[in-house]
């Protein structure tokens, strides 16, 4: 069978598919052992990711939100964020490196101000309310049992993390139940992790078999 027959009929004729296939195999070659092809692919990836970041940031953020409004529409108020942005780069020149703290302080201040109230509401108050709701699984006997397990599981886990009292007697037994609940949680997370990693492999296998080799339809 000639190469010309294979390419186009089975193998992809798109050169970018070949590039992607090469890098996929290069990355998976690490599973056999560390090698130069893997290292080359890894470094190319890092370089491309960094370059891509600069391009995306410029064309999606700096140009439409700063350059065009400032220089074409005359929104001179934008000089302030522009100065703050430039001060970040002061870090690369030691005599003025301290100036980079000004925009960093601004970012941290604004970030914390926005994050603290919203995070407390979404991740603490709402979660407390949800964890104590034994009707979550709906009506009926078994959903009620599910709700109870959730309720007592939460309490037992919290008891386990209460270290101001020694884990002895009834308190210790409740904490012990908490450790079992935590282990079940870890088990579920591990199961999901295996599923996730295998899904990524399957994605690449599908790409190689279908898009590159054309073995499956």
């Amino acid at each position: 069978m000639s190469g010309e027959f294979l390419i186009g009929r089975f193998l992809s004729a798109n050169p970018w598919i070949w590039v992607a296939a090469f890098f996929t195999i290069a990355m998976y070659s690490f599973l056999y052992k560390d090698n130069v092809v893997y290292k080359v692919a890894e470094n190319i990836f890092v370089g491309i990711a960094a370059g891509y970041l600069v391009v995306i940031q410029y064309f999606n953020i700096v140009k439409p939100d700063l350059v065009l409004p400032l220089f074409q529409e005359g929104k001179f108020i934008l000089i302030i964020p522009m100065i703050l942005m430039l001060l970040i780069f002061a870090r690369v020149y030691q005599p003025i490196a301290h100036l980079s703290r000004i925009p960093i302080a601004f970012i941290i201040g604004v970030g914390a101000g926005m994050a603290i109230p919203t995070t407390i509401k979404a991740m603490i108050l709402e979660q407390v309310r949800g964890s104590l709701s034994i009707t979550y699984f709906g009506g009926g006997f078994w959903p009620f049992i599910g709700g109870l397990i959730l309720f007592f599981g939460t309490i037992c886990t919290l008891v386990y993390f209460f270290f101001s009292k020694s884990h002895e007697g009834v308190f210790g037994r409740v904490a012990k139940v908490g450790t079992y609940v935590i282990m079940i949680g870890f088990g579920a997370s591990f199961g999901y992790t295996v599923m996730a990693r295998i899904s990524l492999l399957i994605g690449r296998v599908l790409f190689i078999l279908r898009d590159w080799l054309g073995i499956i339809g």
């Binding site: 995070t119 979404a122 991740m123 979660q127």
Partner: protein, 285 residues
């Protein structure tokens, strides 16, 4: 038996990689066709998207995944857009992680072309924006405060679909598709303060962390990993909207076989480990 146990404990890990690799490939060549049973959480997402039919309100998709997690989250994006476009629901795409911007555009364009949808009327891609907390807060007032132009630098005012969309009140249903914590930030900075209908689509490794958000109603459902995407594809098929299953369902046979192999290795490893411990104990006595 002892020899076999010793060999198992000293097994070169590359044999396990090979076994997993073969298990991933074989079902594509010889499909098993295992049944897919949609879960309650995926069904809830499906129902919310279905409810958009005829409302004129858009399905808002935050494409916060990159090529590294495309195998898991990409099929969800495709299935969701298929669902929306088949019901003539407009799709509004945006993105908060820069490594996924071009990938998001590829997915949206492909889905739109497949269903013959027109840019600016049936779908819009706003592109990437940094400082997501500010963007999410701005979107509660006016989306134009953060996105005055789309990904292609077209002013938002020039896009017919965007004339009807100002803030969260005009969003039909929002879904964050992510391989990062961005799906959670939507809840912290968006759903928490502004209370709109939102659901999570994430990688399987993240899914167990996000189930509590369903319980609180902060997420209306979860599509978790390739399995969740396959369930969504199954729901589309069951509803008569599509005639075939997609990539996620195609990979599920491999997924199941690989899981069996992993379980097999875990069981064998434990048998060998406990056998070894027993032998050591006996030798000490």
């Amino acid at each position: 038996m002892k020899k076999l146990m010793d060999r198992l404990l000293k097994l070169d890990r590359r044999w396990t990689f090979l076994a997993i690799g073969i298990s991933a490939v074989l079902p594509f060549l010889f499909p098993i066709g295992l049944a897919i049973h949609p879960s309650k959480e995926v069904q809830q997402v499906f129902d919310h998207v279905q409810a958009l039919k005829g409302t004129g309100k858009p399905l808002v998709i935050s494409f916060d995944f990159d090529p590294g997690t495309d195998a898991e989250v990409g099929p969800m994006a495709i299935a969701l857009m298929d669902h929306a476009f088949l019901n003539n629901v407009p799709v509004l795409g945006l993105n908060f992680i820069y490594t996924g911007t071009s990938l998001a555009e590829i997915h949206i364009k492909k889905a739109a072309e497949k269903h013959g949808k027109e840019y600016g009327i049936d779908y819009v891609f706003l592109g990437f924006k940094t400082a997501f907390p500010n963007v999410m807060i701005n979107m509660s007032k006016d989306i134009r405060l953060s996105f005055n132009a789309d990904y292609y630098n077209k002013p938002i005012g020039d896009l017919p679909m965007m004339r009807k969309i100002k803030n969260y009140d005009d969003f039909g249903f929002t879904i964050g598709l992510g391989g990062t914590r961005m799906v959670e930030y939507w809840i912290i900075y968006g759903v928490g303060p502004y209370d709109f209908d939102y659901a999570i689509g994430c990688t399987a490794v993240m899914a167990s962390d996000y189930y509590p958000y369903i319980q609180t109603g902060q997420s209306k459902g979860i599509i978790g990993g390739m399995k969740g995407a396959a369930e969504y594809e199954q729901l589309l098929l069951d509803a008569g909207l599509t005639e075939t299953l997609g990539d996620a369902a195609m990979g599920l046979d491999s997924q199941s076989l690989c899981h069996l192999v992993v379980i097999g290795f875990i069981v064998l490893g434990n048998i060998a480990y406990f056998g070894e411990q027993r032998r050591k104990r006996k030798a000490r006595q």
